[in-house]
Amino acid sequence: MKVFHAAVTSLFLLFFFASSPLAVVEEYTPPPMTEGMYPCSNCHASMELNRKKRVLKEEHTDIKLHHAETMRWCLDCHDAGNRDKLRLYNGELIKFTESYRLCGECHGPQYRDWRAGIHGKRTGYFTGSGKRTYFLCAHCHDPHEPSFKPLKPEPSPHRPKENHDAKSN
C-alpha cells in the first residue's frame, strides 16, 4: 500500500512539474556560435590579456557591438580568466548554454516572461511526455547586436482578380 502511495505521489509530482511553465527546462537547442570558434581558450589561453577597449583588427572583425556599447566591452560578459565561460556580475562563471542568466541580470522583466514561456519561443509538446524545445535569448538576439533584424515577408495572398486570371490561363 505504501509503495502504491509513493508511486502515485511521484506520478502526481511528475505531472505537476511537467505541466508547470517554471519547471526544469527539458531541452535547449545549443546556443548559436560561429563555426570553429569554440572552445575560445584554443587561442586565448596563449594570448596576453588586454583589457583596453579598441577596434579588433585581426580576429572577430565580424562582431559589431551595438549593445550599450558606450558602457560595455568584451570582458564585461566574457570571463578574462576562462574564455570558455561567461561571467555574471557577482563573479560566478556560467556556461554558454546558460547565457540567459547573464541576459536576465539586466533584462529582468523579459527574463521573467521568458521563463514562463511568454517572451521568446517554445516548440514541440507543451504537455505530456513529448519532446519540447526552448530557445535561448541568443537564438533570436545576437548578443553583440540584439535588435531584431528586418525580414523579407512571404508573398501576399492573391487578390480575387488574380485568382480569376489564374483560372483563365
Binding site: S19, S20, P21, L22, A116, G117, I118, H119, G120, K121, R122, T123, G124, Y125, F126, T127, G128, G130, F135, C140, F148, P150, L151, K152, P153, E154, P155, S156, P157, H158, R159, N163, A166, K167
Partner: protein
C-alpha cells in the same frame, strides 16, 4: 447500398435505410446518376452521430481514397477532446513584424489548396500605427521588401474560436459545432456549402472551396484529423482549428512554431499554470470586436 450486405444491420439502421430507400426512390434519377463514391458520401452519417464502427469504416474509406489521390498513406485521427481543456490563443501585437511565416506554415500543415483556389486561414492585416481600431482601413495585400515597415503595425487574424460562435448558430444543417475543448470544427462531408457561416463570421475566419482543391502531392501532410486538416473537397467551408491534430496531442500549433519573433502563444485556459493564464493575469489583453458578444478565445496583448 448493395455493397454493404456482408455486414449485419441493426434494427435502427434497417429502418433508416428503408426510409432512405423510399426517399431515394423519389429521387432515383438523382442517385442513380451518382458514382459509387458519391452515393457512399451522400449516405454517410453526421460525424457526431457515428458509432466507433462507423468512424472506423469512414476512416478506412478515406485512407484508401487519399492513397489513390495523393499516393501517401494517411493517418486519420478522430481523437476526442482531452478532458479539462479549453484552448486559447495569445498574440503579442508589439512583436508581430508581419512576415507571414505563420500563414505558410499553416498552409503546409493543414493541406490548403495552394492555387486556384488559394485558401489561407490566417490573414495578416497591416494598420497604420495609432489606428488599431480602424479595421476597415486595414490592408492585407501589403508586399514590401522588408518588414516591419516604419509607421505600421500588423494584426494577424484567423478563426477566433468564439465561445458564442455566430457561425455555428446560423448553420442550417449543423455541419459546424463547438467541441468540448472549445474548438469550432466543420464536418466537411456534412457541409452543404451554403456559406451562411462565412456571412455570419465577423472576423472573416472561414474560407470556401470554390473549386476542387489543389495540393502538390509531395507537400501533402499525411498526419491529419478528421475534423481538421484532412484534404477537403469542392464546396466545403473550412477554417482554423487551432491545429486540432496537434493540440489534442499536447503539441503547439504550426503557426506558433513557425513564428520567428515568438509572437504567438498557446495554452489551456483551465490550467492555472498555462502560458495563456500567465498572459491574461499579467498582460494587457483585448479581443477583437468584443462588443459583438462572440467571446473569442483569441487574446491579443502587448507589453505593459
Amino acid at each position: 447500398m448493395q455493397n454493404r450486405t456482408n455486414r449485419r444491420y441493426t434494427r435502427r439502421e434497417f429502418l433508416r435505410n428503408l426510409s432512405l430507400t423510399a426517399a431515394a426512390g423519389a429521387s432515383l434519377p438523382l442517385l442513380s446518376s451518382c458514382s459509387k463514391e458519391e452515393t457512399e458520401d451522400f449516405l454517410q452519417k453526421h460525424f457526431q452521430e457515428m458509432t466507433p464502427e462507423d468512424k472506423k469504416r469512414v476512416i478506412a474509406k478515406l485512407e484508401e481514397r487519399y492513397l489513390q489521390k495523393y499516393g501517401r498513406k494517411f493517418q486519420i485521427s478522430t481523437q476526442e477532446a482531452v478532458p479539462d481543456t479549453l484552448w486559447a490563443y495569445g498574440l503579442e501585437l508589439s512583436r508581430c513584424i508581419g512576415c507571414r511565416r505563420c500563414v505558410y506554415a499553416c498552409v503546409k500543415e493543414n493541406n490548403h489548396s495552394r492555387r486556384d483556389p488559394q485558401l489561407q486561414w490566417i490573414r495578416v492585416l497591416r494598420l497604420r500605427r495609432g489606428n488599431l481600431i480602424n479595421l476597415e482601413n486595414s490592408e492585407h495585400y501589403y508586399n514590401p521588401d522588408l518588414v516591419p515597415e516604419k509607421g505600421f503595425i500588423y494584426l494577424p487574424v484567423q478563426c477566433q474560436q468564439c465561445q458564442e460562435p455566430p457561425c455555428v448558430k446560423v448553420c442550417p444543417v449543423h455541419a459546424t459545432w463547438q467541441e468540448p475543448d472549445g474548438i469550432v470544427v466543420v464536418d466537411y462531408n456534412w457541409c452543404i456549402g451554403c456559406r451562411y457561416c462565412i456571412a455570419a463570421c465577423p472576423y472573416k475566419g472561414r474560407v470556401f472551396n470554390w473549386a476542387e482543391p489543389n495540393i502538390p502531392k509531395e507537400e501533402i501532410n499525411p498526419s491529419v484529423h478528421y475534423l481538421g486538416n484532412r484534404p477537403r473537397m469542392k464546396c466545403a467551408v473550412e477554417k482554423c482549428t487551432f491545429c486540432i491534430q496537434r493540440v489534442r496531442q499536447g503539441r503547439y500549433p504550426a503557426c506558433v512554431e513557425a513564428c520567428p519573433t515568438g509572437t504567438r502563444k498557446f495554452g489551456n485556459l483551465l490550467d492555472p499554470n498555462s502560458e495563456m493564464r500567465y498572459i491574461i493575469d499579467r498582460k494587457r489583453v483585448f479581443r477583437l470586436k468584443e462588443d459583438l458578444g462572440t467571446e473569442p478565445k483569441f487574446y491579443y496583448f502587448f507589453e505593459a
